[in-house]
Each structure stands twice: as structure tokens, then as C-alpha cells.
């Protein structure tokens, strides 16, 4: 069966250039970057090169990048490493929300636009507020948050600003200086590097409490021998993005619009969630009234199309997407929504095939209504 991947917000394949860059770090440059000898120095050189590549992507200095094991660890280190009262939003990833729940926290509500209101965040600031954590791009809706304005508010209030940029990297330009970020998380597997490799930008001068206890790696902020090959992969992925940003971003927006318009034209009672809000070019989250998204997801998978209902981290749970509930969808609406996220391998022919499969599957499922109502 011909298979098509439309779930790039869940994860991406490792790209050929990333794989090519990381392989030598598994074999020839296998040394421990903390070792004094030649092997250690070779590994250290690769690690530091990767750090510079990532710094270039984020517009920061290389000594402001700490490697971690994943986006969740980056977010946890940023939040728990800062501590104090935290302000965040109701549409954050669980890696942020669950960490913030360990601290005194205010979760600012977000309306149907899927975009946080900076004014509401400003009003939530208390004397003991230490941190504002707002994602750059929402993982389920693709909505872009007003991070520059929130960064300004944080700066004026003397509060640390963290942004989870895991769904932003590779989809829109990132400038941690322009957004006044003190902390910024990115993850490898959303940008064509492997799983298990990520980084946290930590503004120079900001003191964080390490969350891993052990050796003095990563400026004492993240104990544990570095995953050199993973870091190299993340660096190569960052470099690819930097280079292609200069040459113009890949035109996923046109494909996404083709998909959205195609589905809306073929399928009745379908609505784009957070339509009209600024969104990254690769995502659309569509609600099919009266339909069970679990059934549609399986039906599409059995026809060869991989899509998602909500965040992959929540699958297997009965509860509908907390993000969709947070922006005011009813339980039934949230459970009838599907996320399509495009990536480098998709083309117009694939999008057209997807539109056809969605139209047929929805028609078939709706024929079995009212059980799906």
C-alpha cells in the first residue's frame, strides 16, 4: 500500500543530510567530549560545532545553548530550574503544564483564536512571579503566540521569560533577542533530527537550578555525558533550516491551503479550528461535526494516510484534546477534530490523494450516523 505521512508535528524522519552528519559521531568521533585526549577533543569539536549551528538558528551565543535529552527535559529545566510563581497558558504542551503544576502557577485562559492575550498575562503578574512560560507555536493548532509582546511585558516586570519553541523551529524565523526570551526550548525530532536530542537556550547571566545531578557537564546545568551524535544531528538540522531560511522557506503554506480548501469544498460541516489566527504554514486542525476522530484516524491509516487527533502524547487516553477544550470547543467538537501537519516530503499529488481519502472516509462514517452524532 502506498503510504503518506501527514503527522510532522508528531515527529519527522531523519533527513539524509542530518543522518550523514551524525554517523561519524557514532563511529570515528566516538570519544567522550569531557576526555582530555585526542578522542575527547574530536568529540568536543563536533559538540561545539553543533552548539554554534544551533546558536545561529536562534540568534544567540553558543555558550547560551545547553543540550538535553528532549523537549520535555528542556521545558522542565527551564521551569523547575527557575522556580517561583509561574504564569503560563491553558494551551501549553504537557511538558510545560505538568512541570508548572509542581510550582505555584497561574494558567491564563486562551479563547477560540488559539492565541494568548498578552494583556491577560500582564494582569496575572504577582509580586512573587518569577517566570512567564508561553509557547511560540501551539502544537495542535499551529497558532503563533505573540512572544515578542509577552517578552516585552516580562522584561518590564523583571520576570524571566521562557518560550517552548519546539513547534516553531523550522516553521518560522526565531530570534530569541527580538522576543526578549531568557529561555527557549527546541527539539530535534520535530526538525528532521532523531528523537532524544534537544536544546535549551539560557540567556547569559541567568541562573538556573540544574534538574539532573552528577558531573559538571554543560556548564554545570545538565549533568551526564552528552549525546554527541544527537547534538551533531540537532546542529545539522539547525544549519539546514538556517540555510533554507536565507533561500526562502519551503512553500508549505500553499500545500496547507490546498488541503484546507480541498477538504472544506468536498466535506460538509467541516470547520478549521483557529482559522484566521496567525498559524505556522504546515498545520491545519479540522473539525468534522458529528464524527468520531478516532474512527476517522483509523480509517485513514488503513488507507495509508497518517494523521493525528490531538497531540500524540495524549493518544490512548479517553479525554479529548485539552488544547481544543481549552480554547472553548465542546467535548464532542474536540473529539471530532483531526490535525494534519505537513512536511518536506509532501507534495500536491499527496495532498490531493489525502483530500480524496478524507472525503470518502467522512462520507462513509457519516452514513453510519446517528451513532456518530
Amino acid at each position: 500500500m502506498q503510504r503518506y505521512y501527514f503527522d510532522h508535528n508528531a515527529t519527522t524522519p531523519v533527513s539524509p543530510e542530518v543522518l550523514q552528519a551524525m554517523l561519524p559521531a557514532l563511529t570515528d568521533a566516538f570519544g567522550n567530549p569531557s576526555s582530555i585526549h585526542h578522542y575527547g577533543q574530536t568529540a568536543r569539536a563536533k559538540l561545539d560545532h553543533a552548539r554554534r549551528q544551533i546558536a545561529a538558528l536562534l540568534n544567540c551565543s553558543d555558550n547560551e545553548i545547553v543540550f538535553t535529552s528532549g523537549g520535555t527535559e528542556s521545558d522542565n529545566l527551564a521551569i523547575l530550574g527557575t522556580g517561583g510563581h509561574v504564569i503560563t497558558t491553558s494551551i501549553e504542551h504537557p511538558a510545560v503544564l505538568a512541570a508548572a503544576d509542581l510550582l505555584p502557577v497561574t494558567k491564563v485562559a486562551v479563547d477560540a483564536s488559539g492565541v494568548a492575550d498578552p494583556g491577560a498575562i500582564r494582569r496575572a503578574i504577582r509580586p512573587d512571579t518569577r517566570l512567564i512560560s508561553v509557547m511560540h507555536v501551539n502544537n495542535e493548532l499551529g497558532t503563533i503566540q505573540p512572544v515578542e509582546e509577552i517578552g516585552r511585558i516580562a522584561r518590564e516586570a523583571g520576570v524571566v521569560f521562557h518560550s517552548d519553541g519546539i513547534q516553531a523551529a523550522g516553521k518560522l524565523p526565531i530570534d530569541v533577542r527580538a522576543m526578549n526570551a531568557d529561555l527557549y526550548s527546541i527539539s530535534g525530532h520535530k526538525i528532521y533530527a532523531p528523537k532524544g536530542t534537544a536544546a535549551l537556550f539560557i540567556r547569559k547571566g541567568l541562573e538556573l537550578h540544574p534538574q539532573m545531578h552528577g558531573g559538571s557537564h554543560e556548564s554545570r546545568l545538565r549533568a551526564g555525558t552528552q549525546n554527541v551524535a544527537g547534538a551533531v544531528a540537532l546542529g545539522a538540522a539547525a544549519q539546514w533550516i538556517t540555510e533554507h531560511a536565507a533561500a526562502g522557506w519551503p512553500d508549505l503554506a500553499a500545500l496547507r491551503d490546498r488541503l484546507e480548501q480541498g477538504i472544506l469544498a468536498r466535506v460538509g460541516d467541516a470547520h478549521v479550528n483557529a482559522l484566521g489566527s496567525p498559524r505556522t504554514p504546515n498545520v491545519t486542525n479540522i473539525r468534522f461535526d458529528g464524527l468520531d476522530s478516532e474512527a476517522l484516524l483509523i480509517a485513514l491509516d488503513l488507507r495509508g494516510f497518517a494523521v493525528s487527533s490531538g497531540s500524540a502524547c495524549s493518544s490512548g487516553k479517553q479525554d479529548p484534546s485539552p488544547v481544543l477544550l481549552a480554547i472553548g470547543l465542546t467535548r464532542a467538537q474536540a473529539k471530532s477534530s483531526i490535525r494534519f501537519s505537513l512536511g518536506r516530503s509532501n507534495d500536491a499529488a499527496q495532498v490531493d490523494a489525502l483530500i480524496e481519502a478524507v472525503a470518502e472516509s467522512v462520507a462513509h462514517l457519516r452514513k453510519l450516523a446517528p451513532a456518530y452524532a
Binding site: 468520531d292 478516532e294 474512527a295 483509523i298 480509517a299 488503513l302 490512548g316 479517553q318 462513509h364 453510519l368
Partner: protein, 369 residues
């Protein structure tokens, strides 16, 4: 996705695993699906010391089912039906006990979840038929123009008692590939197919009651719901109305029960009936348990159309009961029948199923009043 794809309801046990393997070996398009029905961690006080083992819907079972699907190379999904299961099986189960009846949740699950929600999901995703590891036989009878349900070849494993609610439409889309097989042959086939659960013990009792203690489950469930189980403590009375003691709640008792009465007598005493309205539990001698007639409601006819005239049948009044010869009389209400046994039967229990057999054939069944 061709319409002839078969969705196999995989529990993680050996039977449904073998079904998936058999169909796959036969060259069928197979998709495996496990129903997540109940979260065992919801009522942690019920989990026995050392953790519950081999219970339905545990993570272990999903792991086993997924492992089998991986070995067979078939697509596999977990379907979350927890809401529907609670609504249509668990809550009625608890309510029935409080109403002084002894329910069969497996039949409710078959009627409302497995052969309804699951079948509907299968059809929705493009699988025209479903298969399960039930021990029963379905076949089409050309002369009656009906789908028939028959007892399985392995009489000890026969599960037709729990399937009396199946409609013609459901039977038309259902496969029971193990119906003609002995359990030992199923285990043997599991080994040959390389299914790792070949030696897994059969599931017992009711899947969502982790330690078999229904009363404790019902109490814990109502506590969790923030509803105190209605005061069901009351008097133990004899058949002639003598109060002989107190009891701790009608949901602790089922007709024919001998244990836990706490009354000393010269001869064995049994629960004859429970009366939720007066909160009384009536106890008596073995002979008091005999009934020659009973009524059943919610009757579903399977292998024959609803009869207009009395029908001779062997009637089973609980899973382990030896079906007894009886005549079934239709009543003015087509969903209800009166059953007159040739010989009185012991412990006819309201809430249990009455299943009507004619030899191997399941004619139909209903719920004992």
C-alpha cells in the same frame, strides 16, 4: 481498504490471538483492535496485594495484544470505550445488585459494546465483519432464512449463554472461528503460530471486578461517584416471616447463596430471595429454592422467529446450569415469555439470563424477572 477486511477483537488472551492468527494464515485482511473498557486504577482499594493479574484492560493485556499483532504483522489499534462501558455495563451492574437482582455484565457488554460499538467502529473504519474468540458457532440456515447460533464443539467452553442478545444483523457480520475447536487444539495452534500468550490462563469472573468481590466493587464504585449506596442493610427473615438476624446489605446476596448468612441452624440455609423495597433477605431450606415457572423479559429470538405458539426447549438459567426441559409460552407482550419447567429448578435468579436451546441450537433468550 477492502470491505472484506475483518476486525478482530483482541483481548490479549490466547483465544482472540489465535483468531487473528488463523484468519491471517487463511489470507484474510485482518486488523486487530483492543477495547479499553475500564481503568483498573480507578478503584485502587480493590486491587489485591501484589497487583491484579490477568485482568481485562490492564496494560499487560494491551501489551500482549499488541505483541501478538506485531508478530502477525497486522495493523493494531486500542479503542477507548470506557465511557460507553461505564454507562451501559458498570452502572447497570451496580444498580441491578442494589435492586436485589444478580446481573450478567458480560451479556450487557456483548449486547452494547462488543457487538454494537465495536462492530460499528469496525464498519466505520472499513472492515465489513468482526471476529472474536468466543466459543460459539454461527451459521446461515437457508430454509429458515435466518442466522443461527449453536453451541461450541468444546462443550466445556461454550459461551452461547452470554450471546443470547445477538441480532440477525449482528450475527451476519460476526465470525466465531473457534466454535468448532477444542480449547486444547486452540492452545496447540497458538504454539504453532508462535503466539506468546499460548499458555496464558483463561480469564475468569467479571473482568472489571479485580478480586471477584462484587459487593466491595459496588461499594467502592458508589463511593467514587460520591453517592452513598442507598441504605441496604436490613433484616434476615425466614420464609414464614420470622426475623432471625441482620444483614449488611442486599447487594451481598444472590439467590441460592449459602455462605455469609451468619445464622446457625440445624440444616443448611440458603438465600431464597432479596426484597430491596423492604430491605429484607429471605432465607430458607434447600427445598424452598425450587421453582417450576418463571418469566423472562427483553426476549431476543435468534435461530427461530418469535413463536406464536408454545415452544419446547431446554432452558439454561445460569452459565453453569444444566439446561432443563421446559415449555416456553409467548405472552401478549412479544418481548416477554413464561417458562414452565418439566421439573422444578433450583435457584431461579432474577437478573440472570434464561437461554432457550433446542439441542445444539440457541433459539433465543431473555432476562429472568
Amino acid at each position: 481498504m477492502p470491505e472484506n477486511t475483518i476486525a478482530v477483537a483482541m483481548s490479549g488472551g490466547v483465544d482472540s490471538s489465535v483468531v487473528a492468527g488463523m484468519l491471517r494464515e487463511r489470507g484474510e485482511q485482518v486488523v486487530g483492535m483492543t477495547m479499553q473498557l475500564w481503568n483498573q486504577r480507578r478503584l485502587p482499594e480493590l486491587i489485591p496485594e501484589g497487583g491484579s493479574t490477568g485482568r481485562c484492560c490492564s496494560l499487560d493485556d494491551v501489551y500482549d495484544a499488541r505483541h501478538v499483532a506485531q508478530i502477525l504483522g497486522i495493523p493494531y489499534y486500542v479503542l477507548n470505550f470506557e465511557d460507553q462501558f461505564e454507562e451501559q455495563v458498570v452502572r447497570p451492574f451496580a444498580a441491578e445488585y442494589l435492586a436485589g437482582r444478580t446481573p450478567i455484565p458480560c451479556t450487557l457488554c456483548n449486547n452494547f459494546i462488543k457487538f454494537d460499538r465495536f462492530l460499528e467502529m469496525a464498519e466505520g473504519v472499513g472492515a465489513g465483519r468482526m471476529a472474536t474468540g468466543h466459543y460459539a458457532i454461527v451459521n446461515w440456515n437457508d430454509s429458515t432464512g435466518r442466522w443461527e447460533l449453536r453451541r461450541s464443539a468444546d462443550r466445556a467452553k461454550d459461551q452461547t449463554y452470554f450471546l443470547f442478545g445477538l441480532t440477525q444483523d449482528q450475527l451476519a457480520r460476526t465470525l466465531f472461528p473457534l466454535g468448532a475447536m477444542e480449547k486444547s487444539a486452540v492452545r496447540e495452534l497458538a504454539r504453532r503460530l508462535g503466539i506468546p500468550t499460548a499458555a496464558k490462563p483463561d480469564s475468569q469472573e467479571i473482568c472489571f471486578v479485580p478480586n471477584g468481590d462484587y459487593a466491595a466493587f459496588i461499594e467502592a464504585y458508589f463511593r467514587e461517584q460520591g453517592v452513598a449506596p442507598s441504605e441496604t442493610q436490613g433484616e434476615l427473615v425466614t420464609t414464614d416471616g420470622r426475623v432471625v438476624g441482620e444483614h449488611s446489605g442486599v447487594h451481598h446476596f444472590t439467590v441460592g447463596q449459602r455462605r455469609g448468612l451468619g445464622v446457625a441452624a440445624g440444616e443448611p440455609l440458603y438465600v431464597i430471595s432479596t426484597e430491596p423495597a423492604s430491605k429484607r433477605v429471605v432465607i430458607g431450606r434447600s427445598g424452598d429454592l425450587q421453582r417450576a415457572t418463571m418469566h423472562a423479559g427483553g426476549v431476543n429470538w435468534i435461530s427461530i422467529a418469535a413463536p406464536k405458539e408454545p415452544v419446547r426447549a431446554e432452558v439454561k438459567i445460569r452459565n453453569k446450569h444444566q439446561a432443563a426441559a421446559a415449555t416456553i409460552f409467548p405472552t401478549a407482550d412479544a418481548s416477554r415469555v413464561e417458562v414452565r419447567f418439566d421439573d422444578p429448578q433450583r435457584a431461579v435468579t432474577p437478573g440472570q439470563g434464561a437461554v432457550f436451546y433446542s439441542g445444539e441450537l440457541v433459539l433465543g433468550g431473555g432476562w429472568i424477572d
